[in-house]
């Protein structure tokens, strides 16, 4: 079997709390209104690299928010529909991103000591402790 590699990131707490889940990583910014389907927690934007992929229960790792001022409302709806991400890890702080993370009430962090887009890969198991400002990444098991 494989030895497990654990990588640790430090960052700033945006929304407090602890959660864990499988990472879903994209280098594309995410649109809320018009970019996701809140009922299924799926990205629907036409030219997005994750089009058709669900973020429900995943630790979403992405550059930041873009698009309409309906961003927070679209992600707020994912919480009420049970399709919200487990956590948000992002690089670019904007009002859309901050408010969206707050009302989704998923633990959220930014301002990392290393770029999470470079360190985390889709499928890694990620534990987010926003209260302490620590993210632990267990790299996905690969054949020896």
């Amino acid at each position: 079997m494989n030895a497990e590699t654990v990588v640790v990131l430090h960052g700033r707490c945006v929304v407090p709390g602890r959660s864990e889940g499988e990472a879903l990583v994209t280098r594309d910014r995410i649109s809320g209104w018009g970019g996701i389907d809140s009922r299924t927690g799926t990205i629907v934007e036409t030219r997005h690299e994750l089009r058709g992929v669900s973020f429900a229960g995943k630790v979403l790792v992405f550059p930041g928010a873009k698009g309409s001022s309906g961003w927070s409302a679209a992600f707020h709806m994912t919480r009420t529909m049970g399709t919200a991400p487990a956590a948000f890890l992002f690089n670019e702080m904007t009002t859309k991103m901050a408010l969206g993370a707050v009302v989704t009430r998923a633990p959220a962090m930014t301002d990392f000591d290393q770029d999470p887009l470079a360190v985390i890969e889709t499928g890694d198991w990620v534990t987010v402790d926003a209260d302490r400002g620590v993210v632990e990444i267990r790299k996905q098991a690969r054949p020896a």
């Binding site: 945006v14 934007e45 873009k66 409302a73 904007t94 009002t95 408010l99 969206g100 009302v103």
Partner: protein, 427 residues
């Protein structure tokens, strides 16, 4: 985050549970941003309306409109009684046209629920302007005024053209702001963040509304959420051109503020626009970029048979309605095509008074208010190929409705509506 005594009293419940919940959200939001304090505001543009079956079921099962406001405008688990609002608030566009339910594809029950919600929010003191262009219908903030606006095309107009100050707010933050008269002091409320970051040199003629839309679409793509400073504008753009420019830049990117040197209020000259800083990057918009942007925005369109033309994104100005009236008078919309024109309710009432609406309707156009195709996810039944004079609409509608979209000038759009064919080309 620092609170004043007044803010602390609101947070502690002096003004009741709804105001306390609003302060709780503003504090969570402010801390998330890293804001040091709040700022007073008496100018809010908000979406409060409830137009979906989900909201209707939510209201029915959780405790009526107070429950809808508590959850979706205050992020409060507890259902609190919502008092009259404290800060002047106008409403953004809606998710459908309430007086045209059939055309919007919504049922009567949804309209009735909307009417109930409208009575609730106007009862609180929200002005039912129902437009993405509040600055056209009486919400015209003063330069320097701190605002809390939703709607990206309005935010960019507020900051750049009017010199008032707002970030792109969301449904919950404006809900909290209307009850407290506060919003986090962050981003574009602060002088230093309003300065230019990118220098854009115009090296091709940008004159028509359609050119301004293309320029905005290109700039947004280039600078994303930064602050472009545009130099080389030869003729001063009117309201419609600035409206289309900003809407495009905030769709392809996240631009919330720009400067036009010698034209917009915080850019009397290049130095002032950059606040003494150096540009991160200099970008050139020449014929090559102009043409490439036209091709990009038209990338979803193949068929020249057009069955839907939509004008009015952002909501048409009085001048634009008059202009379309002049272009279409004596002509007829083709039987295989529909022409929908969207404007603010207040502007339509003037258009009705003037007889402009009559000219447009006699030609076969439909003049509608309160919404648009992208917001309402509505187009004429069976529409496959649409034409727009709005880069924003051409950006969103193919994704939202799965139809092809042509982008061109208002003349090209009217020609398409009257012939059922797209003859537009890069001019």
């Amino acid at each position: 985050m620092h609170l004043t005594d007044e803010e602390q009293a609101m947070a502690d419940g002096r003004d009741g549970p709804a105001v306390a919940r609003a302060m709780d959200l503003l504090q969570r939001y402010g801390r998330a941003l890293g804001a040091e304090r709040l700022v007073a505001t008496n100018n809010i543009v908000a979406s409060v309306g409830a137009t979906t079956p989900f909201m209707r079921d939510f209201a029915r099962s959780k405790g009526g409109m107070d429950a809808v406001f508590s959850e979706f405008s205050l992020d409060s688990d507890a259902v609190v009684k919502i008092p009259k609002i404290r800060a002047f608030t106008t409403h953004t566009q809606l998710g459908f046209v309430p007086d045209q339910p059939e055309r919007m594809g919504v049922d009567e029950a949804t309209v009735q629920f909307y009417r109930q919600g409208e009575a609730f929010i106007t009862g609180l003191g929200v002005q039912a302007t129902n437009t993405c262009t509040p600055y056209q219908v009486g919400n015209l903030p003063t330069r320097g005024e701190h605002c809390a606006w939703m709607e990206s095309s309005a935010v960019i107009y507020c900051n750049s053209v009017l010199g008032a100050r707002t970030n792109t707010e969301g449904r919950e933050s404006v809900g909290a702001a209307m009850l407290t008269g506060r919003i986090p002091y962050w981003g574009y409320h602060i002088d230093a963040n309003r300065r230019g970051t990118h220098h854009v040199l115009l090296q091709t003629e940008v004159e028509s509304t359609s050119d301004w839309g293309l320029l905005g679409y290109w700039i947004g793509d280039q600078v994303q959420e930064r602050v472009p400073v545009v130099e080389g504008v030869k003729s001063i753009p009117n309201l419609a051109r600035l409206k289309h420019f900003g809407a495009a830049a905030s769709s392809s990117g996240g631009v919330e503020m720009y400067h036009l040197v010698g034209i917009t209020p915080e850019a009397p000259n290049l130095d002032a626009a950059f606040g003494g800083k150096r540009a991160i990057e200099t970008l050139r918009f020449g014929l090559v970029e102009h043409r490439a942007t036209w091709e990009k925005i038209n990338a979803t369109a193949k068929d020249t048979k057009v069955d839907y033309v939509m004008l009015g994104c952002p909501h048409y100005t009085m001048e634009q309605l008059w202009e379309v009236g002049r272009l279409i008078e004596g002509r007829k919309v083709h039987p295989d095509c529909e022409l929908w024109i969207f404007t603010a309710r207040a502007i339509k009432s003037i258009s009705d008074q003037n007889g402009t609406t009559k000219i447009l309707e006699e030609a076969g156009a439909r003049v509608m208010t309160d919404s648009c195709s992208a917001m309402s996810r509505a187009a004429p039944k069976g529409a496959r190929v649409a034409a727009f004079d709005s880069a924003k609409q051409a950006h969103y509608v193919p994704a939202i409705l799965g139809i092809q979209a042509w982008y061109g000038s208002v003349d090209e759009c009217i020609h398409a509506a009257c012939t059922g064919r797209w003859d537009g080309r890069f001019a």
